[in-house]
Amino acid sequence: MSVLVLVEHDNASVKDATLAAVTAAGKLGEVHALVAGAGAQAAADAAAKIAGVAKVLLADDAAYGHALAENVAPLVVDLMANYDAFVAPATSNGKNIAPRVAALLDVMQISDILSVESADTFTRPIYAGNAIAKVQSSDAKKVITVRGTAFEKAATDGGSASVEAVSGKGDAGLSSFVGAEISKSERPELTSAKIIVSGGRALQNSENFHTIIEPLADKLGAGVGASRAAVDAGYVPNDYQVGQTGKIVAPEVYIAVGISGAIQHLAGMKDSKTIIAINKDEDAPIFQVADIGLVGDLFKVVPELTSKL
């Protein structure tokens, strides 16, 4: 079986989510990586070094610059004549493009897989991670998105794939990129951070996020996350959100501060290796999943913790 993997990149380097997708794809067959972008040679070179990648296809065209699904999907569909499966990381880009590819190929996509059981059988979470479904696909070609935290990341060196230029139809003329507002952060990216400190509604305002959560995160070299309640209340931008509708994370250590532990939030973090909860309500659902719990007022406990570390 030959598998085409969509590379998530910023033109210069390959993002971590791709590495997990390469591992998942490797369980199916020979892995070729597609780098679609504008001025993305450096990303293609980086992709060629990923262990397990046999070939890199580089589609370098202004039309692919902002990964617009209307332009990228037809390119993938053309290339799929030579492949049995298309695998994308379950990032916002992957989720945007892959179903468009699947429908054009007339196949059902298998979203957010947790494991590869065989060439046509996979497991995936449903109902906000409250159940795991094992599904078997009857489609001739498979279109799959991969949960980044469920697979080991492929090594970023050791590979020596060749890079081949490919071209597609270019701009479909349906959509155009206007602009982006990317949150700036010096801290580790949430989905790849080893430690995450997350705050909830109990923080009360954005000022407290700065003075209580961030110093603790900095002390630990951790990424900063938030519950949906904290995001909706405007304490932090929405790309901080951990949960079913935000980011899915599985760090070594997840510290939940002032988060009750709603189903929605747990869906995004309950695969963390160690969960630590700090909450003043000892009956909060978060304590049912926490490995280590501390019942106390976060405004007193967290600064004390930060100072003692």
């Binding site: 179903p99 078997q136 003329g173 155009s176 509708t245 070594e252 719990g293």
Partner: protein
Amino acid sequence: MKVLVPVKRVIDYNVKPRVKMDGTGVDLANVKMSMNPFDEIAVEEAIRLKEKGVATEIVAVSIGEAKAQETLRTALAMGADRAILVVAEGDVEPLAVAKILKAIVDEEAPGLVILGKQAIDDDSNQTGQMLAALTGRPQGTFASKLEVAGDTVTVTREVDGGLETVSLKAPAIVTTDLRLNEPRYASLPNIMKAKSKPLAQKTPADYGVDTTPRLKTLNVSEPPKRTAGVKVADVDELVAKLKALGVAA
């Protein structure tokens, strides 16, 4: 322009789903069902477009069992003008839903289709993108802001690193993210009025769509349970635990 809003009847988001003992699925008997939360946001956005004079008519569509009629009545009570119910047995996959919606789009010719970004039962996040593919229209997924001016639809999208704005040529397909709006509650008079709004009943066969699943669910199981943890008495004990984990020096 006419706006089409597909809505799905799902388990209420406050209910903790229980996996059936025989592993065939999740137990939905006697469980509270509601409109998928992202679809409520889609209906709300369509109504706001109508209030701004952009949308002229709002058509709500649902595909599923006969009881999905209740979900459509909710959409009508919120402010949709009429509804179409496509009655289908069993689970209908996103690909089949997208095909039925495509047939409805061909018939109704809406200028905009607004869907939720994902349903909270199957968590697929596919239908909007698939509908866009099948109709050959542009897609604005995970929208947190939507503006319509003439035949240009400007969508601000929630992406991994922050926000991104794209411009789409109408007719377009948009899927809603949580922060697009705060859906309104239907008032009692509007719930009463909704009962007399038109609701057409169809079947997938009327649209020539085969809803046979492509994915076979072999088994549904509980996720691995986490082992019970310990509670520490004070910060010093927590610091010691963190040091033992190797995350603090």
